[in-house]
Every structure is written in structure tokens, then in C-alpha cells.
């Protein structure tokens, strides 16, 4: 009997076996295709990231170098204070003809004939017009320098700076370029003498706004962004986390809380410029808060960041296993103790991730800040968040609109600074997250 049964059994299993074989091949092919797609997607992403970074860095790294000219400046009393009135009239020191000091020093350095005015003019054009305020600040800070000769490092003019960095094509006809042949010759002699050289550009970090590229920096914007990030963090993290904890752990689940949840999700998708309009209407026009102030910007960005933080926090709270809550409640912990002793610490990594995403978003936000007037030309550092300031992305936007060649590299340089700011913020969050991360 069995001898008869076994062949039929084999016959009946054969089609099933071959059918299954085809299926497996197709499954593996599908998996390979999917892997190829995934690999391709990542490769494309990495390629564009590399292009972005390369274009920003290759254009922007020169912004961190600045050409300077170190000249022995004679602070002659004849020029600064010819009538010797500075004891009675301190204003004298502010209005003195400082560019003349630079001119005299340059004429002496280059051995020019002071009578040839056009030539002298070209020579003095090599030094930034910011030399006036630089020398004035030296004299005002310490009037005893009058009568002495001390070496002062002055900023080179943006055109000379560009030429010295090799960014200006010198083969172009002289009439059509901003740097004249004499200036190039002087530049080279001064460079050989060690008077003119490139050094690290601290100014880009410390200067405020200026129409002269060599004297323009992101200092005010950096401080403004820092103020805003601190205020946004201080406001949005506690408010967002408290709101999420209440909604997730305490609030009854009914139609009202459903409505609130839907609205929070929708708010996360509202275009940021709408928040700017809200800030303009409510904070500035209705509450009468100052225009261009970091505080108002921070308020607007807080409103913008809150939905992101709330959504991330609620997701993090939901991800905490219910068994942990039961364990704490079963021991007789109150609801509040359960949440704050057990659930919140476990949700902390997720909350921090959400917060950093929200803050990074806020740091790069430009549109709402334009509406509340943070697009201003601010030269002086804001002493408090109530004083006018700008923000990094707004500064980048403003520089991108400038026509001068030297602002191109500064725009990219400012982008690099913004990215570094972001990296430091992320680093802080990652370190914090490490401290909170626990296995279960």
C-alpha cells in the first residue's frame, strides 16, 4: 500500500514546490529593488548635502580672513586739536580730521609726492573708511596718544581685500575694474614689506551692520539670535512640556481635547509669516512692544515652536510603556509623582529631540522677523533683548541683497556661522539626551 501511496504523494507535492520557488525569487528581487531605491535615495541626499556644503564653504571660507594694513600713525596735535581746546571742548576729539592722519602715514610709507592729489587719493582709498572711527576711538579712549607715533592695524578696503585674495580678475581692462594698477603695485610692495597681510577676521564676529563690507559683521545678529534662542527655550520648553503633560496624562479624553489636539497639529503647519503678522498685530501694535526687539522676535518664534514641541513631547510621553505607570501607581505614587518621577525622565530624550528641532527651526526662521522689523540696520550691540537687533538669517538675507563683491563671501561666511551655531545647539541637546537616556 505504501509503495503505491508514495508516488502519488510526490506527484501532488511537485506543483506546490515549484510555485513556491517562483514566489521566493520574486520576493528577493523585490527586496533587492527596495534596497537599491533606499541606497539611491540616501546617495542623492548625501550628494546634495555635499554640493550645498561645498558651495557654501568654498565661497565663504575667505570671509574669515581679512586683509589689514599696519601703519605707523602719527597722532599729530596739529591735525587732531590745532587750537588745543580738548580740555574745554571734548567734542573736538570726535570731529577731528582723522583720515588726514592715515593719508600722511600712507604717503610717508609709499614715498609719494603729497602734491599729486589723484595719486594720493588712490592710495588712501586702499584703506577702509572705517579707519576714521577706529582712530577716533583710540584717541577718545586715551588722549595721551596725541603727539606720539604708534603702529595701528587698519582694515584694507574691501576692493583691495578682494584683490589680495585673488578674487578680482586683473587681466580685465583697468577702467572697468575697481582696483587700479597703481593700487595693485602698492599692494604688492606693502605685502612684501609685511605691512599689508591677511589675518583671521575677528571683525565678522564682532562688528555690527555696515555698508562697507570690510567693517560689516554678524556680531549684532549673533547676539540677537542668542537672545532669541534663550528666550524661546525658556518660554517654549516649560509651556510646551506642561501643556503636553496635561493633555496626555491628566486631561479627560473628550471632544474638546480632540479639538485642541487637531488645532495644535494644524498650528504646526501654519506658514511662519502668519506668525509674523500675528506678532506685528498683537505684540507691537496692540501691546506696544518695541519694534526690531529680540524679545518680540522671541515671542513670535515661541508661538511658532510650541506646536512642534507639544507634538514631540506627546509622542514621547505616549511611547513610555504603560507598565511603568502601573508600577508607580501600584506602589501608591500619586499621578503627579508617577509623571514627574518616572514618565517624564523616560520621555526626556524624545522631548529634547523635539525641542532641538523646534529651536533649529526657529533659529533659521526669517520671514516672521522681517514683519516685526528685525530687518533693521543695527550698528550698536543691543544691551538687552528690548533694544533693536537683527538675527543671523535676517543678516544673511540682507547681505545677499547687497551688490558689492565682498558681500558675496560674507553672505556665505554668515551661513557658515549660522550652521556652526546650529551644530553647537545640537551638540548641547545630544549631550543632555545622553544624560537622560536609559535602557529598559
Amino acid at each position: 500500500m505504501t509503495e503505491f501511496a508514495s508516488p502519488t504523494a510526490r506527484v501532488s507535492t511537485r506543483p506546490a514546490a515549484s510555485r513556491r520557488d517562483i514566489g521566493i525569487k520574486r520576493r528577493y528581487a523585490a527586496e533587492r529593488r527596495f534596497r537599491a531605491f533606499g541606497f539611491g535615495a540616501i546617495a542623492i541626499g548625501l550628494f546634495f548635502l555635499a554640493v550645498l556644503l561645498w558651495s557654501v564653504v568654498s565661497k565663504g571660507y575667505t570671509a574669515f580672513q581679512q586683509t589689514t594694513i599696519t601703519l605707523p600713525i602719527e597722532f599729530s596735535e596739529k591735525v587732531i586739536d590745532p587750537k588745543n581746546e580738548r580740555a574745554t571742548d571734548p567734542k573736538q576729539l570726535f570731529t577731528a580730521n582723522y583720515p588726514l592722519l592715515v593719508r600722511e602715514a600712507l604717503v610717508k610709507q609709499l614715498g609719494l609726492d603729497p602734491a599729486k592729489r589723484p595719486l594720493v587719493k588712490q592710495a588712501t582709498d586702499m584703506v577702509s573708511a572705517s579707519a576714521r572711527s577706529q582712530l577716533r576711538d583710540i584717541v577718545v579712549a586715551d588722549p595721551t596718544v596725541i603727539g606720539k607715533t604708534i603702529p595701528v592695524t587698519l582694515l584694507a578696503d574691501a576692493n583691495i581685500d578682494s584683490a589680495f585674495k585673488g578674487q578680482i580678475d586683473l587681466t580685465v581692462d583697468e577702467a572697468r575694474r575697481k582696483v587700479k594698477d597703481e593700487q595693485v603695485a602698492w599692494m604688492n610692495t606693502l605685502a612684501e614689506e609685511g605691512v599689508l597681510k591677511k589675518s583671521f577676521n575677528t571683525g565678522i564676529f564682532t562688528f555690527g551692520a555696515s555698508s562697507r563690507p570690510e567693517a560689516a559683521g554678524v556680531g549684532v545678529a549673533l547676539l540677537g539670535s542668542l537672545y532669541m534662542m534663550l528666550i524661546v527655550l525658556v518660554l517654549s520648553l516649560p509651556i510646551g512640556v506642561a501643556a503636553s503633560i496635561y493633555l496626555e496624562e491628566f486631561a479627560p479624553k473628550n471632544r474638546l481635547t480632540d479639538l485642541i489636539e487637531v488645532n495644535i497639529n494644524n498650528l504646526a503647519a501654519v506658514p511662519s509669516i502668519v506668525y509674523g503678522l500675528l506678532g506685528l498685530a498683537v505684540f507691537i501694535n496692540f501691546w506696544g512692544m518695541p519694534r526690531s526687539a529680540a524679545l518680540v522676535g522671541a515671542f513670535v518664534l515661541t508661538l511658532m515652536t510650541l506646536p512642534t514641541i507639544i507634538i514631540a513631547t506627546r509622542a514621547a510621553l505616549k511611547a513610555v510603556p504603560p507598565s511603568i505607570r502601573s508600577a508607580a501607581l501600584g506602589l501608591g505614587a500619586s499621578k503627579m509623582q508617577t509623571v514627574f518621577h518616572h514618565v517624564l525622565p523616560l520621555a526626556m530624550p524624545g522631548i529634547l529631540t523635539g525641542t532641538i528641532i523646534g529651536l533649529a527651526h526657529a533659529l533659521g526662521e526669517t520671514a516672521p522677523l522681517l514683519l516685526i522689523g528685525m530687518v533693521a540696520f543695527v550698528v550698536d550691540f543691543p544691551g538687552s533683548p528690548l533694544e533693536p537687533s537683527t538675527a543671523l538669517p535676517v543678516q544673511i538675507y540682507m547681505w545677499a541683497n547687497e551688490a558689492e563683491r565682498a558681500f558675496v563671501e560674507r553672505t556665505s561666511g554668515a551661513i557658515i556661522i549660522l550652521l556652526i551655531f546650529l551644530i553647537f545647539m545640537n551638540l548641547g541637546a545630544i549631550l543632555l539626551r545622553r544624560r537622560f537616556e536609559r535602557r529598559w
Binding site: K253, P321, S323, I324, R325, S326, A327, A328, L329, G330, L331, G332, A333, S334, Q337, H341, H342, L346, R438, R439, W440
Partner: protein
């Protein structure tokens, strides 16, 4: 003494043991659905009471009414009366936090906090103010771990995470954590269902020892376990209490046909 005489003596002894918790006409509703129908069940002091029955019969639901863990479930409503030493635990004057300190709970899956072993055990005493100094707290942790039979295994690594222990050790850690609050009653919801036979044996042994100091109510799916660890057994079916009896009688000569069928493995 003859065997029958011993049994009789035991019965009498059993019947003189005072009731720790008394449930009268306990019904539980999840929204519209009724999960328990007028259950009358008494829990005797220093006794292990096993709740058995097929899945979904309401035994866990009943267990959770005893320390009001059902309060945490949305739409859950409890009617009837449950007393702990004659205090109605659903009375407004009873604080649920205090109740849960008196009626501790061990869950189906070991759920230690992702903290150190020491912090796991000391958490309860800390929030209930049971230890005033560090030395007192250390003593509570040590005695609790000893009661849970875990002290010798973990005394050198008290500050390592409790989640790093094996499954059986984690469950005993959870028992130590419950014991540390000095509850009067300990509820156990299938405490061995996630454990291997050796760990199960250890936990069962532990339950046997804990009986001297605590009143224990245990939900179990294992008939053998109920027979091994409990003195009283209650059988649930479809939300009704079918039979409650001494464990020995229940497994040898049950009063109800359904109990007989369930124990014989005919349904469930």
C-alpha cells in the same frame, strides 16, 4: 488523628481566620460592557487566595478593583462594596494613594523602573516617608530584598540597573518593591506567566513564605500553581464567581460542575 479529622481541624481553622478584604455585589462596567456580575468574595488574612478561570472571565478585573487600579482605566465603573479591615475602599474619605500603599500589586510582566536595584526598592518607602534617614532606607531595602529572596544575588550590585536582571530576578525585584512599602495585602496578577519553570518555582516558594506576613491574592492561569500556592481558590467564569472554596476541596471535590470541567481541562 485520622485524615478526616485533620481535614476537619484545618477547615475549622480556616473558617476562624478573619476576613481581610470583603467584596459584596461587586460589578464592573467598561463603558456599556459589564465585566463582573455581583461578585461576593472574601479574602482571608494571611492566606493565599487564588483566582482562576478561563481568559476574559473577570478575575484580573476583580483583582484590580481591590486596589482601585481600575480607576486608571477610562470609562471603567465599579459598583458594590469592597472593604479593607471594614473601611469601604470606594468611600470618598479613602485616599487612593494610601489604599495602594496598604494593598500592593505585582504585575504580569516584570516591570522594574529603569533605575538601579536600590532605587527600585527604595522608591515606595521614599514617597511614603517610611524611612527618615539613609541608614533606615538602607535597612528597608535590605530586608525587602531578603524577604523577596533576592538579597544574596544582588547585594554586591545594588546600584546597577534593575532592568539588567534576569526575568525571574526582575519579578522578585518587583515583589521586593511591593513588600518595601509594608502593605497588608499583596495582589499578584499572573506573576509567573512570563517566567521559566525554575524562576516560577522560586516565586512560588516566595509566595509561600510571604504568607506569614501578608495577605495574598493571586490570579493564575495555571491550575497546578493555584493548587501549590493557595489555601483558598475562587473560580470565575464569564464575569461570575462560580465557586469559592478551600483549595484542597476545590481540586478534589468541587461543588460546581463548571469548576470540575475547567479543572479537568474540558474548557478554558
Amino acid at each position: 488523628m485520622s485524615e478526616a479529622a485533620v481535614e476537619k481541624a484545618l477547615d475549622q481553622k480556616m473558617n476562624t481566620v478573619p476576613f481581610k478584604m470583603v467584596g459584596r455585589d461587586v460589578s464592573v462596567y467598561y463603558g456599556e460592557k459589564r465585566a463582573l456580575f455581583d461578585v461576593n468574595l472574601d479574602v482571608r488574612e494571611n492566606t493565599v487566595t487564588a483566582l482562576i478561570g478561563p481568559s476574559g472571565c473577570g478575575k484580573s478585573t476583580f483583582l484590580r478593583t481591590l486596589n482601585r487600579m481600575n480607576d486608571t482605566i477610562e470609562n471603567c465603573r465599579v459598583t458594590g462594596k469592597i472593604t479593607l479591615d471594614e473601611d469601604d475602599i470606594y468611600d470618598l474619605s479613602i485616599d487612593v494613594v494610601e489604599l495602594r500603599a496598604r494593598v500592593g500589586m505585582v504585575f504580569q510582566k516584570p516591570n522594574p523602573f529603569p533605575k538601579s536595584i536600590y532605587d527600585n526598592v527604595s522608591y515606595g518607602p521614599r514617597i511614603h516617608g517610611l524611612a527618615r534617614t539613609k541608614a533606615e532606607l538602607d535597612a528597608v531595602v535590605e530586608t525587602s530584598l531578603q524577604k523577596a529572596g533576592l538579597w544574596n544575588e544582588v547585594k554586591d550590585r545594588l546600584h546597577e540597573p534593575g532592568t539588567g536582571l534576569s526575568g525571574g530576578q526582575q519579578q522578585r525585584l518587583c515583589i521586593a518593591r511591593a513588600v518595601a512599602v509594608s502593605p497588608e495585602v499583596i495582589l499578584m496578577d499572573e506573576p509567573c506567566s512570563a517566567l521559566d519553570p525554575i524562576a516560577t518555582a522560586k516565586v512560588e516558594e516566595l509566595i509561600h513564605e510571604l504568607r506569614a506576613n501578608f495577605t495574598i491574592v493571586i490570579v493564575t492561569h495555571s491550575m497546578q500553581q493555584a493548587a501549590r500556592v493557595s489555601q483558598r481558590t475562587a473560580m470565575f467564569h464569564l464575569g461570575n464567581l462560580v465557586e469559592e472554596n478551600d483549595t484542597d476541596k476545590m481540586f478534589t471535590n468541587p461543588d460546581d460542575q463548571r469548576t470540575q470541567d475547567y479543572i479537568m481541562g474540558r474548557f478554558g
